[in-house]
């Protein structure tokens, strides 16, 4: 290992060319893995394809809406569809999700109205969906915080005494490669480990934290960090929806049966900008993006469907049309989303009436009313 005295970055080829669990090659060829047998019917694969295409289309529409000034910002999931749909479809109804701000695909799997996600990026709410309704917690913008919430939630499930029973629930915490540097994330690993919490840490290593490459966060492959904390870590091809499904299923099952935490590193790539305000040409090469295009998560499922004659042109057309329609509905919903009422700023700050909120709300209402009087 050579160490650059300035950057301190070691020469670790493993960071770039990793060993990972793969069940579907970029060419759409099915491969077997001894630890992860997976038996999917043609219909199940078509459903996964439908998910993948829809979430990509919705994401593109959201980017377009941002460009047109309808959203303040959007964090695109482009390139990470398989990681999100694979892990999202591995979840059982009881399982609980703690997302970052990019898990639109997981939200789709949980049945969260995509418009509610947009309402946050449009500046209408700070969340807006009921986490209990979908077992999908609010988005967390502050990097890494949610991993501790997820761990605590899992500790609650453990204390409910339901592990190993049909009402068992696993908790899954999503986070990025950059997040692995945060104290909160490392503390969540420690808590999960010593309490053997029923949790899956799902790290989407999309190679970048805004402009910083993985080398700024880690000298070893991320999945190997788990070993130091005392639980299993595994790397999966994050652009392979089959592998993500199988690996997450197993980890969730381990959690539900009291076998403790797992760290899954989904090795993937952020195909777009960090968010719509970012300019990746300042810090990464086009060639890198091109190389990852060849590993596209959707194309390989399509190739697999075609190769096995599980789907015909009419099917693909139908999915395309459906996705277009979902996107159209999203756009219409976004454009007709009402702005919050100014006085709503004072609502829900506390669970019970609070004199300062009441006082300021009344003052501001009177102030607003004074303009109406003037106008009359």
């Amino acid at each position: 290992m050579t160490i650059d005295s300035v950057r301190g970055a070691p020469d670790t080829p493993e960071l770039a060319e990793p060993e990972l669990v793969q069940l579907l090659t970029p060419e759409g060829e099915r491969v077997e893995h001894p630890d992860y047998p997976l038996d999917l019917s043609a219909e199940e694969v078509r459903d996964l394809y439908r998910d993948l295409v829809n979430v990509r289309r919705l994401d593109l529409e959201s980017v377009a809406l941002t460009r047109q000034g309808e959203l303040g910002l959007w964090a695109s999931l482009l390139g990470q569809e398989a990681a999100q749909i694979g892990s999202g479809r591995a979840l059982s109804e009881n399982d609980m999700v703690f997302p970052t701000y990019r898990e639109h695909g997981v939200a789709w799997c949980r049945g969260v109205d995509q418009l509610k996600l947009l309402s946050m990026f449009r500046g209408v709410t700070h969340g807006g969906w009921d986490p209990a309704e979908h077992n999908f917690h609010l988005y967390t913008v502050v990097i890494g915080s949610q991993t501790l919430h997820a761990t605590g939630y899992a500790m609650g499930v453990q204390r409910d005494g339901v592990l190993g029973t049909p009402s068992a629930a696993a908790t899954i915490a999503y986070f990025g490669d950059g997040a692995t540097s945060q104290g909160d994330v490392n503390e969540s690993f420690v808590f999960a480990s010593v309490f053997n919490a029923p949790i899956v840490f799902f790290c989407q290593n999309n190679q970048w934290a805004i402009s910083e490459p993985l080398e700024r966060q880690s000298r070893i492959p991320l999945y190997r960090r788990a070993q130091g904390y005392g639980f299993p870590g595994i790397r999966v091809d994050g652009n392979d929806v089959f592998a993500c499904l199988a690996v997450t299923r197993k980890a969730l099952e381990n959690a539900r049966t009291g076998q403790g935490p797992t760290l899954i590193e989904a090795f993937t790539y952020r195909m777009g900008a960090h968010t719509t305000t970012d300019d990746p040409t300042r810090y990464r090469l086009k060639a890198e993006e091109e190389a990852w295009k060849l590993k596209d998560p959707i194309e390989r499922v399509k190739a697999y469907l075609v190769r096995n004659e599980f789907a015909d042109a009419a099917f693909f057309q139908k999915i395309e049309d459906e996705a277009k329609q979902t996107a159209r509905e999203l756009r219409e919903g976004c454009l007709s989303m009402p702005d919050p009422k100014p006085l709503s700023a004072f609502e829900h700050v506390y669970a019970e009436p609070h004199p300062l909120m009441t006082e300021e709300q009344e003052q501001f209402a009177a102030y607003l009313a004074s303009f109406e009087e003037e106008a009359r």
């Binding site: 500046g123 934290a209 402009s211 702005d339 300021e360 102030y367």
Partner: protein
């Protein structure tokens, strides 16, 4: 004279400080190749190298904690916190460690660390990107806290902050990054870091502001002038220490004072100002010191942030109320 935006003036000030003192380091998330999300450190890594302009791992406690260590080894780190709402993971290092080490060492250790924080709202951002956390830091002994409001001050104040032997929390009004002014980058004949300046003289009411609110107050004073009311605007520039002399001199003349900041009014920095002014100018005051600020709520979704942020109307409404008392 050079025409600079506030953001570019920050950049030039940092560059000057790095040229003048090889111990000055810049560190933070995305400050290198990207030049920071606001491009404040643009080009610095290219010119000063990766050893002096450090893209750090994504960990604010780590950034400030290691900056403390670097300072102990004789460096002068200038730390960038990407957005106001992300300073809190570093709160322990700032409040418990950075602020107190000089005193704990009986003055033997000096901690010349600058923590730069783009602050305030008005850019249509999602949550945690529009906050005004200054009161947490002005409440912490051992920290110096300043806020620039224009390109001229940005250029000088950052250099003065870096030269300070004490830790400095440096607030930058992010929605004013694109405001332009003529800056004399050759001169070092600067206003002292911890003094307030009268940015618009007036007779009837004193408006006190800092950071992003200074421009809003100047606009309010302009509008008031059309109605025959003369407002004096003071840019506090430094919140800790506070140049109370300049404030008292003004309020003694005008007899009326309105404090404006984006942070929530309840327990905001305006409370300290109101109390001090009341103590010093009690017999000169024609009305209580009034405060205009954010609601005492979390920063709201951006579609209603214009209601939350003090604007001309709310400032002038408070001015009216000082006359109606």
């Amino acid at each position: 004279m050079t025409t600079l935006t506030l953001g570019k003036a920050m950049n030039e000030g940092l560059r000057k400080a790095m040229e003048n003192d090889p111990k000055v380091l810049v560190m933070g998330e995305d400050v290198g190749k990207l030049g920071g999300v606001f491009r404040i450190t643009d080009g610095l890594q290219k010119d000063f190298g990766e050893e002096r302009v450090i893209d750090t791992p994504l960990a604010e406690s780590g950034i400030v904690g290691t900056a403390i260590g670097l300072a102990l080894r004789g460096y002068r780190p200038v730390v960038e916190i990407q957005f106001d709402g992300f300073v809190f993971p570093a709160a322990d290092q700032i409040i418990t460690q950075l602020a107190k080490m000089h005193m704990r060492s009986l003055g033997k250790l000096s901690l010349p660390v600058v923590v730069r924080i783009p602050c305030g709202g008005g850019i249509g951002a999602v949550e945690h990107h529009s906050e005004s956390p200054e009161a947490y830091f002005t409440h912490t002994a051992g920290l110096r806290v300043v806020a620039c409001s224009n390109p001229v001050d940005a250029y000088s104040m950052i250099q003065q902050a870096i030269a300070s032997p004490d830790p400095v929390i440096f607030f930058e009004p992010k929605r004013r990054y694109w405001e332009k002014a003529e800056v004399d980058v050759e001169s070092t004949d600067w206003t002292p870091l911890h003094s307030a300046t009268v940015v618009r003289p007036g007779e009837h009411v004193t408006l006190l502001a800092y950071g992003p609110s200074v421009k809003t107050c100047l606009e309010a004073a302009g509008a008031a002038a059309e109605e025959g009311r003369s407002l004096e605007v003071i840019d506090l520039r430094s919140l800790n220490p506070l140049d109370i002399g300049t404030v008292v001199e003004s309020v003694d003349r005008t007899g009326r004072c309105v404090v404006v900041h984006e942070a929530p009014v309840y327990n905001g920095f305006g409370a300290e100002l109101a109390a001090r002014i009341t103590e010093r100018c009690f017999y000169r005051l024609e009305s209580p010191v009034l405060r205009v600020g954010g609601f005492s709520t979390p920063y709201p979704p951006s579609r209603i942030e214009d209601q939350y942020l003090p604007d001309l109307d709310r400032i002038l409404d408070a001015v009216d109320r000082t006359f109606a008392w």
